[in-house]
Symmetry: D2
Subunit: 140 residues, 4 copies
């Protein structure tokens, strides 16, 4: 694991599969979200904290490139890092890897804007920025 | 359609299937919810109205019996009725039917308690009760 | 509706919402899939046909840009067209619109490669290509 | 943990919540499935094995009673046991507990019939029966 990325393992559930016999592509988006959550938690900041401070991250863009299929009961590693950080926006990058072999299954990114509870764009609060910043250079 | 029930058609989505090649059993629960929503709408009451009045229905019980499998792109009819109505509780009954053949695919019920926004059990408000009542005897 | 696009309406389900009070961004991916299915059906070709002929479309890329939030019980129109068609690949484009106001809620695209049942890339079969082609120039 | 039950922890994902601010009731059904999978794995039998032997378990009934709400980012423990075992049928029982406090959040059961790949009811194969049996009395 590169020191600016955070890994979390997810086991494929039966409900994640479709009749092609592999994981339905929509589930990768859920895994990205799991990755984001764990990225923040590993930096001692939970997304729940952000919401309780009166902020939220609204997604503005999503991209995913699919390389390999994954099957029921396999374990994937979701590797998350901060790719770009602006005053009001943050872009997370993700890799989905086969835990056993390390093969790249998919990769992608999501972009988010920081809003307050009345949906106005706001500067990312400092405590959350600190959490994200450490993601970029691997230091506090 | 019996006059105390409300029918709504749902087409099976690819994402609803699993690697068995049929609809995953969890989706029937979503269809029940679609049925409840349409039951209320057909009586000119939307669940959104209930929430905007400061109430909500919290599910307390769920039962589903599965008879036949359903496949991608098939259309099912969700038939919903009120099975029991108490001061603070309502039980909806559901049948999932193959639209083309009328075959029973599954049936079940959900029980709900009426809460206010501070999670206290409350008498079902009259406007919503009227909507549900018509469901039982088929008259206004 | 432009003549090379196909529209289908989808009502937001309660399960589609998240605690932000709006539709969770992952559901847009499901709506894209509903749009693809209806695009083909409107050209008298169902994706089920393709699978029964021994082919399938594997997704290779996905992009979605989010503009506006959508709420429970609202109806969105999914507008689907073919953006690019190669020998073995097809790219669909999508717009998610508020049915009532026509406001653009989101737009995106998915790219797919045609595989046979042993996962080998294959030329898109002619009957399916005809269905897709009409999508591009609006004529049969 | 009672010795005939198997526990597995699941962290609530953001996508699991709905606009009530709590986990949508349909997700409990997914958690039951996660519990079943881990029950078998802990007895060194994976559901994947069963499918590769030419069998599958088709759900015939589902029941869930909801006691408490769960929120985003909380961890629940899914406790699974075998409640009833017949020649061709098995009933699993589940408790969903708050990991931190041990509070019961929900409980329920699912009943399944063993089918072969042509959908004929079949005697549960011995290797799978052994896995399930140990579930009932806690011994091999």
């Amino acid at each position: 694991m590169r020191d600016d990325a955070v890994d979390v393992d997810v086991r494929v559930r039966y409900v994640d599969t479709d009749q092609m016999g592999v994981v339905h592509h929509g589930n990768y988006i859920t895994w990205f979200e799991v990755g984001r959550t764990e990225f923040c938690r590993s930096r001692r900041f939970t997304y729940r904290d952000l919401e309780s401070m009166g902020y939220r991250l609204m997604i503005t863009g999503l991209r995913c490139l699919y390389r390999k299929a994954v099957r029921y009961d396999e374990v994937v590693t979701v590797r998350t890092r901060v790719k770009d950080l602006r005053r009001r926006m943050v872009t997370f990058g993700y890799e989905i890897l086969c835990k056993e072999t390390g093969t790249l299954i998919a990769h992608g990114e999501t972009r988010h804007i920081c809003l307050d509870m009345s949906n106005k764009p706001r500067t990312i609060p400092e405590s959350f920025r600190n959490c994200l910043d450490r993601g970029i250079d691997g230091t506090a």
